[in-house]
């Protein structure tokens, strides 16, 4: 089929941040294809220099509203590693609990607010509020639960307050934890309904082999701690992240592209689920299987299924953490003090994938250098790759349908553009 099509989606909707899709097809061949990141650069790595170590998490959290807990956590881990701070078990548990809150919140937001409208063939959840109020209310209930987890532990989800270098500054009340546990247990009903709903959706068939990079840890499904791990079966310590990932700038994007040795790779829920499937909770594994994650899927559209499986996992694990906190008893603990200074790397699995923060801190506790690599920036290369490979299979469709399908593809990655505009250590494609 030889046709000419120009797609130009300015400010793609239902994603975080500003991006454009530009596709130019001449004679059935792709002449031009770009995912333009037009979000204004904000230069966090530049202006964090000169700030004190105990303000860093507060500032770096503001890289992104939707994955604020992740940025805060990666930032804290980097600072704590640079300064030799070892937090207590209780603090780590509380941080993990808040982290689960964020993952659930982010995935539910993506699935219910950004993705579902595509399957119902509407432009947003607004029309669904009247046609399918049950669906909308369920999504809102789940999202609220996720927000509550973060509120109880950290004050709020967007820019958490109590996560601080050396530990946490606030303890939830036992009564709050008990009430939260009850709500988490009750949420399985809504999750099962969500699962049913997503099972009824037809997932576009598109598959291309790729490298998945995530964290991996012995003993648990890695979100908050672990090493860097690739589906090409190698693993690296966090501090060696630069040996795995190289960044480059492209002239149409304020977000840098990243690549591993073998080129573009994918991070995020699907990468994690594929790499760490066995460590998912029981219900999460069942959900994943129910949604068709039986083999090792390379279909990026399966990212949504992986997200839903992870929501199950986080809810189950959150319940476990709460049980532990209650049975071990909450104690007021002082924040642990810094012991040294130097450079430190912190990595976590943000909802959209592995996230790196690295700082150099001087003897006065002042940051002198910083570097962050954001999940969406890592996915940009593979998204463009996928677009290139996906388009030929839908070329027979109308321009509108092509546009919608390509948008859905981009959206499946749940790109978070607002935070992907700050990256360091650039290598130029000359």
């Amino acid at each position: 089929m030889k046709k000419d099509i120009k797609v130009n989606v300015e400010h793609i909707t239902r994603v975080e941040g500003h991006g454009n899709i530009v596709i130019d097809i001449k004679n059935g061949r792709i002449k031009e294809l770009r995912l333009e990141i037009v979000e204004s650069p904000r230069f966090y790595e530049a202006f964090i220099r000169g700030r004190r170590y105990d303000e860093v998490q507060h500032i770096m959290s503001r890289i992104c509203g939707i994955c604020a807990v992740s940025h805060t956590s990666a930032s804290l881990k980097a600072v704590e590693s640079a300064m030799g701070i070892q937090i207590t078990k209780q603090s780590a548990l509380l941080r993990k609990l808040a982290f689960h809150g964020e993952v659930i919140q982010s995935h539910i937001l993506h699935l219910y607010f950004l993705v579902i409208p595509d399957f119902f063939n509407v432009g947003s959840i607004v029309p669904l509020a009247s046609s399918r109020p049950d669906v909308v209310r369920r999504g809102l209930r789940l999202k609220k639960l996720a927000n509550e987890i973060c509120s109880i532990v950290a004050g709020r989800h967007i820019h958490p307050i109590s996560l601080f270098p050396g530990g946490v500054t606030h303890l939830p009340k036992v009564s709050e934890l008990k009430a939260l546990k009850k709500r988490l247990e009750d949420s399985f009903e809504d999750l099962d309904a969500t699962l049913e709903l997503f099972r009824s959706f037809r997932v576009p068939q598109f598959s291309k082999k790729r490298e998945f990079i995530s964290m991996k840890e012995d003993g648990e499904y890695a979100f908050y701690s672990g090493d860097i791990y690739s589906s090409r079966k190698y693993s690296r310590k966090p501090k060696d992240y630069k040996k795995v990932i190289k960044e480059s700038i492209v002239p149409y994007s304020t977000a840098k592209h990243a690549a591993a040795k073998k080129g573009p790779y994918m991070v995020g829920a699907l990468a994690r689920v594929n790499n760490n499937f066995k460590q998912l909770s029981k219900r999460a594994r069942d959900a994943a299987k129910g949604l068709g994650i039986t083999t090792y899927p390379y279909n990026p559209f399966m990212n949504n299924a992986a997200q839903l499986a992870e929501v199950y996992h986080c809810v189950e694990d959150a319940i476990k953490i709460i049980d532990r906190l209650i049975s071990e008893g909450l104690r007021k603990e002082e924040l642990k003090k810094p012991k040294k200074h130097g450079t430190g790397v912190g990595i976590v699995e943000a909802p959209r994938g592995i996230l790196f923060h690295e700082y150099a801190i001087d003897k006065n506790g002042i940051v002198t250098e910083a570097n962050c690599i954001i999940p969406t920036a890592q996915n940009l290369g593979i998204i463009e790759d996928d677009m290139r490979n996906f388009i030929p299979s839908i070329l027979h469709k109308t321009r509108e349908d092509i546009t919608r399908d390509v948008e859905s593809l981009v959206r499946a990655y749940d790109p978070c553009i607002s935070c992907s505009t700050h990256i360091m250590d650039v290598r130029f494609e000359d």
């Binding site: 400010h11 909707t13 239902r14 994603v15 941040g17 500003h18 979000e39 204004s40 650069p41 904000r42 230069f43 966090y44 790595e45 530049a46 202006f47 220099r49 000169g50 004190r52 303000e55 507060h58 500032i59 503001r62 890289i63 992104c64 509203g65 939707i66 604020a68 937001l109 607010f113 409208p117 432009g123 947003s124 959840i125 607004v126 509020a129 909308v136 809102l140 209930r141 927000n147 950290a154 004050g155 709020r156 989800h157 967007i158 820019h159 307050i161 109590s162 500054t169 606030h170 700038i249 994007s253 304020t254 840098k256 607002s418 935070c419 700050h422 990256i423 360091m424 650039v426 290598r427």
Partner: protein, 255 residues
């Protein structure tokens, strides 16, 4: 029995920021359905596909930090009857203004590397609050905004009331909440000069007030600097504290 009014059309726009304030709007889980009954959202890129230009009320999030953003916000101002600045970035410039104290070439180089100087694409202008570019009717302060303030402003606009904006410091919220003042614990705080309305949530959750809501109309900053000095802040610390969210006024900005 007020005059019958059609559903007001509301748009949300986002400029240089983390989009947390828009997300805070989406976090009104219990209220969202009611909100959709009261207003018609005609533009909200983060959540809906529709993009219309016939709005009455525009909520604008983010600082203005690129040349083309100036034109865009001006266009919005022309179309909207009411413009509300949504969050610290747009109300006071927010954290974004921290970059203003470094030269453009330097921040570009630090983030995008040596060769970035050949790429105009990364160029920005000093980040600034919305009212440095267009007149703003109402402000929702905070990084991020609070849900309750957003709902109050929305309700006020719908009833025809003038939205309240507290003009007293966070210490009031702190005392209402029943917090122990962090100065008692030997820490320091921006609360005494910062505009309240957040229920002192940062202090409640064990941190200090960072000053994200900007200052009250007549802050006693001299007194505050003196207090901070007495509590052991160095000259550098002082600069850092006042810079964090006060960068616009300090580095080049004025309204």
């Amino acid at each position: 029995m007020t005059k019958n009014m059609p559903k007001p059309k509301v748009a949300f726009f986002s400029f240089t920021c983390c989009e947390g304030c828009q997300l805070q709007v989406l976090s009104c889980e219990d209220e969202l359905v009611d909100i959709l009954n009261l207003i018609e959202i005609v533009n909200f890129r983060e959540a809906i596909d529709e993009k219309r230009d016939d709005y009455d009320i525009a909520f604008i999030e983010g600082s203005v930090s690129r040349q083309h953003e100036i034109e865009e916000v001006k266009k919005i101002r022309e179309k909207a009857n009411v413009v509300v600045a949504l969050g610290a970035c747009s109300s006071t410039g927010g954290l974004n203004c921290l970059k203003n104290k470094f030269p453009m070439e330097e921040v570009k180089k630090v983030v995008y590397g040596e060769k970035s100087k050949y790429y105009k694409y990364f160029d920005t202008i000093p980040a600034r609050p919305l009212d440095a570019v267009i007149p703003v009717d109402y402000y929702l302060h905070g990084c991020p905004i609070t849900k309750s303030e957003f709902l109050n402003v929305l309700k006020a606009l719908l009833t025809g009331k003038r939205p309240d904006m507290p003009n007293y410091p966070v210490c009031v919220d702190c005392k209402m909440t029943g917090n122990i003042c962090v100065f008692e614990k030997g820490k320091t705080c921006m609360g005494p000069v910062t505009r309240a309305g957040c229920d002192a949530i940062c202090v409640t959750y064990g941190a200090v007030c960072w000053g994200c809501r900007g200052t009250v109309d007549n802050p006693n900053t001299e007194s505050h600097e003196e207090t901070l000095r007495i509590y052991g802040l160095t000259a550098d610390d002082l600069v850092r504290s006042f810079d964090l969210y006060g960068g616009w006024n300090k580095y080049g900005g004025s309204k």
